[in-house]
């Protein structure tokens, strides 16, 4: 009979303790690796909310303020920039495209965004993924609206439904622009970005909302906006990014600023990181407690199995073999625990995936074990071996010392 078989038999004889240990190590693994995973997904989804846009231009304020408001529709609204500036910036030779954005109105708590058709072509998220329609088409007329996936789902809108928009972005008693109803013509696919929560209308429609009249007379007006909230800019070549930024910052007509979204996004993420570190430390503590539990069980079992180890010694087992017995035992428990934990994470992940995607806008990839997660798992197993080395050393020393073995 091999030492391994002996270990397994020994473990099996203490089913309840072993299973509880495997369970607790499994849960620690789930916590440790799961938190890591969610954090990574959150970071990815956050920093990739906007890709393919080289600069965001708006009235001068803080750069995080401009970013939060334009991309996430969060935080303090910023001052508008004039349409004239937008048009002039568009004539820069370095600039490939300009997409204006108007914000400030809402529908049942969801922000309304006025823009032009190129928005749907140039707005990219994650690894340069464009927006895609789930049903219907893009807007063509002033009073047409394209819904983000979450808006359509939660408010239960279908194509050709009619809806009214409200002035302001707070929830509750807002003045509703009753004179103009919008026709749902399209619904976008989910993206895991703020786009899912947005209603997209033509920028002319946005202007019309703020003009008294009705749907018939309004068409006679000039619906070109006077000003917009901000605009997204794509350059012909990335090299010109700083020179364009400089030209915009030095804009004579009005105070403007231009931010590089990626840079500001990662700076924002760094601010969140403190909370994130705290969370990680708590998880580490939980793991520590688990391993103290493991140590406790191993020490108690060593105490209880004195007689048994003595028998093995008199039958010729070397003290090192006794140590091996304990290390193998712990190795088996931690490895099964880790595998169980990873399995648990996958099945949880599978079950909770829709929840994460909908409620938090996190697209999680649970079925792949990334390299850092693999390291983390190996690390847990290593700590398990390290933990068992304490009772193993004790067993070795006791096995050597006189008086341990008595007939």
């Amino acid at each position: 009979m091999s030492l391994l078989k002996l270990t397994l038999k020994r473990l099996f004889s203490r089913k309840v303790t072993s299973l509880l240990l495997i369970l607790s190590i499994g849960l620690s693994t789930l916590l440790l690796v799961g938190v890591q995973k969610i954090k990574q997904s959150a970071k990815d989804s956050f920093s990739q909310s906007l890709s393919g846009t080289d600069l965001i231009v708006g009235a001068r304020s803080g750069d995080t303020q401009l970013l939060l408001y334009t991309v996430f529709r969060q935080g303090q609204p910023i001052a508008n920039m004039s349409w004239k500036s937008v048009k002039e910036i568009q004539t820069f030779p370095e600039i490939s495209w300009v997409v204006p954005i108007s914000l400030g109105d809402s529908h049942k708590g969801y922000p309304v965004l006025g823009t032009t058709l190129p928005y749907f072509k140039h707005y990219k998220y994650a690894s340069k993924q464009p927006l895609k329609l789930k049903t219907g088409r893009l807007f063509q007329d002033v009073f047409e609206v394209v819904l983000g996936s979450e808006v359509a789902k939660h408010l239960n809108y279908k194509l050709n439904d009619r809806l009214f928009l409200a002035h302001g972005i707070a929830k509750g008693n807002l003045t509703i622009h009753k004179n103009y109803s919008f026709n749902v013509v399209g619904v976008l696919k989910p993206t895991g970005t703020p786009v899912d929560k947005t209603l997209h209308i033509p920028i002319e429609g946005f202007t019309a909302l703020h003009i008294k009249g009705d749907k018939k007379t309004i068409k006679t007006y000039d619906l070109t906006p006077k000003s917009v909230t901000s605009c997204l800019i794509g350059l012909t070549s990335k090299i010109s990014i700083f020179s364009v930024q400089k030209q915009i910052v030095n804009w004579k007509q009005e105070p403007l600023m231009a931010i590089i979204p990626g840079v500001t996004l990662s700076r924002l993420w760094d601010n969140i990181r403190t909370i994130d570190t705290a969370f990680f430390i708590i998880t580490l503590l939980v793991t520590l407690i688990t391993f103290i539990g493991l140590l406790l069980v191993l020490l108690i079992s060593l105490q209880q199995s004195k007689r048994e180890l003595a028998i093995l010694r008199t039958l010729g087992a070397h003290p090192l073999q006794l140590s091996w017995l304990l290390i193998l035992e712990s190795l088996f428990i931690t490895t099964s625990g880790v595998i169980f934990g990873l399995g648990l994470m996958n099945s949880f992940g599978y079950a909770l995936k829709p929840f994460f995607e909908e409620k938090m806008g996190l697209i999680l990839s649970f079925n792949v074990l990334t390299l850092p997660e693999l390291y983390l798992a190996l690390c847990i197993i290593f700590i398990g071996i390290l933990t068992s080395s304490i009772p193993a050393l004790l067993a070795y020393r006791k096995g050597l010392s006189e008086g341990f073995v008595s007939l």
């Binding site: 009979m1 091999s2 002996l6 038999k9 020994r10 099996f12 004889s13 007689r307 048994e308 028998i311 093995l312 010694r313 008199t314 039958l315 010729g316 087992a317 070397h318 003290p319 050597l400 006189e402 008086g403 073995v405 008595s406 007939l407």
Partner: protein
């Protein structure tokens, strides 16, 4: 060749100064059934620990089958013990989570010599263990029971099987009968002696129970052997 030879031997426990075991000169001969007797606490278990190399003396040497086991290192001593000794304890001899058969073949896990000898008798270790079980009246129905459900008498018979598998040279028994009633005790003794005779094994048997003396042809009183108490040489009764 002597079975066991003590040469200027002295042992005391650092933690227990009231006890010491000193044996200046003692030879235990081969081909004898040896009984070592003495009251509780006189050092019988200590004596067996010493001749099996589990406890090392403070001074002096012990020769087992002309090998100076005091001079052996840890690994060699462990190997020597399992190769040459079959050991039966007073109680709780068996590993509770192993089956009867697994318990019996355990010495063959650690000793290649005993594994070879066992395999010379039978094709597999399991078969050899089964054969010994039959000899020792351990019925097939007992083989699959957990150790904890075996009676003490049954457990002690399994211990005999484990001690004699692969035929070591010397069987050591430390009060193996103290938990058995008279009937069981006699059954145990006759089985043990029968097996020792069958395989021509030497037996060193330790007990405070003088009624067992009749089974043996050489009897020692440990108190008399211990020079700490008297300066006599060993006494043969």
């Amino acid at each position: 060749m002597s079975l066991v030879r003590f040469d200027n031997f002295l042992l005391n426990y650092p933690s227990d100064t009231s006890f010491s075991l000193q044996i200046k000169n003692l030879i235990l001969e081969k081909n004898k059934k040896i009984f070592i007797e003495g009251p509780s606490g006189c050092g019988k278990t200590t004596f067996l620990n010493v001749i099996t190399g589990l406890t090392k003396p403070v001074t002096g040497n012990i020769y087992v089958l002309d090998t100076n086991i005091t001079a052996l290192n840890q690994v060699a001593c462990d190997r020597f013990r399992v190769d040459h000794f079959g050991i039966i304890f007073q109680l709780f001899n068996l590993i509770p989570y192993l089956t009867v058969i697994e318990n019996i073949i355990l010495p063959c896990t650690f000793s290649t010599q005993r594994r070879k000898k066992a395999l010379a008798n039978n094709k597999t270790l399991e078969e050899e263990a089964r054969r010994l079980c039959t000899e020792l009246d351990i019925t097939d129905s007992l083989l699959n029971k957990p150790i904890s459900q075996l009676s003490i008498g049954q457990q002690q018979r399994v211990s005999i099987a484990r001690a004699i598998i692969g035929q070591p040279d010397i069987i050591i028994a430390d009060e193996p009968t103290s938990a058995l009633d008279d009937d069981r005790k006699n059954q145990f003794m006759s089985l043990l002696l029968k097996e020792c005779n069958t395989y021509n094994l030497d037996l060193i048997f330790v007990s405070h129970d003088t009624s067992l003396q009749s089974h043996f042809n050489q009897i020692y009183h440990l108190e008399n052997l211990n020079n700490t108490h008297s300066n006599n040489d060993h006494v043969i009764t």
